[in-house]
Assembly symmetry: C2
Homo-oligomer: 349 residues x 2
Amino acid sequence: MTVNNLSIVLAERPTDDIVPGTTFAQKITPAPTPADLKDGEILVEALYLSLDPAMRGWLQDTRSYLPPVQIGEVMRGASICRVLASKSKQAAAGDFVCGFTGWTQYAILREGSFEPSSNYPGLRDPKDMLSVLGMTGITAWVGMTKIGEPKAGETVVVSGAAGATGSVAGQIAKLKGARVVGLAGSDAKCKWLVEELGFDVAINYKDADFKQKLAEATPNYIDVYFDNVGGEILNACLARAKEHARFVMCGGISQYNTSKPQGPSNITKIITMRIKMQGFIVFDHIKDYPKARQELSQWMAEGKIKKTEHILKGGLQVAEQGLVGLYKGTNTGKLLVEVKNPDEPPSKL
Amino acid sequence: MTVNNLSIVLAERPTDDIVPGTTFAQKITPAPTPADLKDGEILVEALYLSLDPAMRGWLQDTRSYLPPVQIGEVMRGASICRVLASKSKQAAAGDFVCGFTGWTQYAILREGSFEPSSNYPGLRDPKDMLSVLGMTGITAWVGMTKIGEPKAGETVVVSGAAGATGSVAGQIAKLKGARVVGLAGSDAKCKWLVEELGFDVAINYKDADFKQKLAEATPNYIDVYFDNVGGEILNACLARAKEHARFVMCGGISQYNTSKPQGPSNITKIITMRIKMQGFIVFDHIKDYPKARQELSQWMAEGKIKKTEHILKGGLQVAEQGLVGLYKGTNTGKLLVEVKNPDEPPSKL
């Protein structure tokens, strides 16, 4: 009996906000079966789908670090999957892998488009393959250790600090001996940053006196700013930059859903304060993944890096709405869609 | 008989444009005399005063790389001077020196606040102490060789390309084997850049189809952008940045005279194109001055770096209007005020 495979495809490019029911469409196709496998391929079912701020950019038909998702194409995305059948020596049936399945229930993945769990040293929770030990955690590691390079006693500010990447970035800066100020969008997030993750200060950027609080929290100005949000907050941090500050440009989530993005009017501070502002994409740093995972895994084991996930139940049907929520800041920690509860038995395709 | 010393002092901080007759005021004091000299000091008369885009920033009461010029204080500036009397072994009466006199006819300079002509190897024209071998030329050298680092075959774009710094920056990029596109504000400037200085292309940014011309001139996108202007042109160059481009942030002259500066809306290109955008101030690189001057001097001698000056006559009285004109782009090459014609005999103080 053929099993249905639900996928979510791009139906229409959004100009501003993603429009639920319009931007994406559901598509049912027959699920692949073990008989479809070629040598070096595995057949998987998705358990958790990663929702990431970068996704909005992938919908845009502009020159970027990846080609845009095409209209009608399954939305790009990474999942934690269970292997149902394998013709690869890298994974056996029953294994967990992390792969670029796209927003789909069942997929065939070729070697190179998935990572076996053996790539994640000391893995205790498969979800970590998408969070601390996945793209988001490694993004934090690359940005903070290779561009930000905070030194003991320096002041580090992280925006989007309660997000999957920001929370790890701030904790790495703490590990390097810096004083860390987190910026987030709710008092509950701020409390979590300080009380659970050990940030020195956390500020709710929605507070009317945000700029004053930022100034008070950075009396010696900012040595390293790790930016996940862009817009007004980036502008405020430019105004507080110390001489020779490093601005790690990781994301600009505040600007992704508008066709009229806002540039930082304080940009001439880059000159007067001799700032190095550098953008990066984690995929350029594949050769560093093993080292990053090794360190992150050890720090987690030592309790020096803590994490949380915000898991949306309801399967791929809720992914679209989940993505809309991501840009509104609904999540604390890594935002995942539970495509299938891993406690349920494997599907029979 | 006491000689009058005309100085120009800051009278009022401008909020937007400099207002001639309001921003600055003239002040007459008795000129210093040889009897005032202490050991290690020289008495000088200014011949040429340098007008620089950075001056607008010095009028602003904000945290910057130098303290703001105070109200009532002589306007900060560098001049080429003739030594009238000396109690320093670094310079003798009759020598030319370059010093931070401020906008004044006569000044006493202490060792450390002037540079003797012996610091400029192969000096043929004293004016070069303010142009190619001075702050402006060294600024181009530092920005291009230490941040931009163009390689053979790369595409380099320079804005404010017909200015004192931009014209040298572009020629250095040519020397490194790059393809160089200059952006300037008149067809005459563009002609000079291509026909005299050897730029590959020059574009008048005032042309209605500027963006299209920029795209045509950068078919392989921009590897290095040397920014002197900020604003719309910076934004347009962000849109044309290649992966891993270097943006050398030297100046933002289009934004200096407004209380509402404009940020570049394309700033997220820094992330997607992994741009390194770095600001610098030449004063941080004093240890490189000898090397920079050595190279620049040799390139001039070999005819590989050409230059021009735009000299305003009329003494310090015209400096204020000259500065206003600088921001309107009246000059090609280095803008100087002739405080005193060097062919006239030395003053007797």
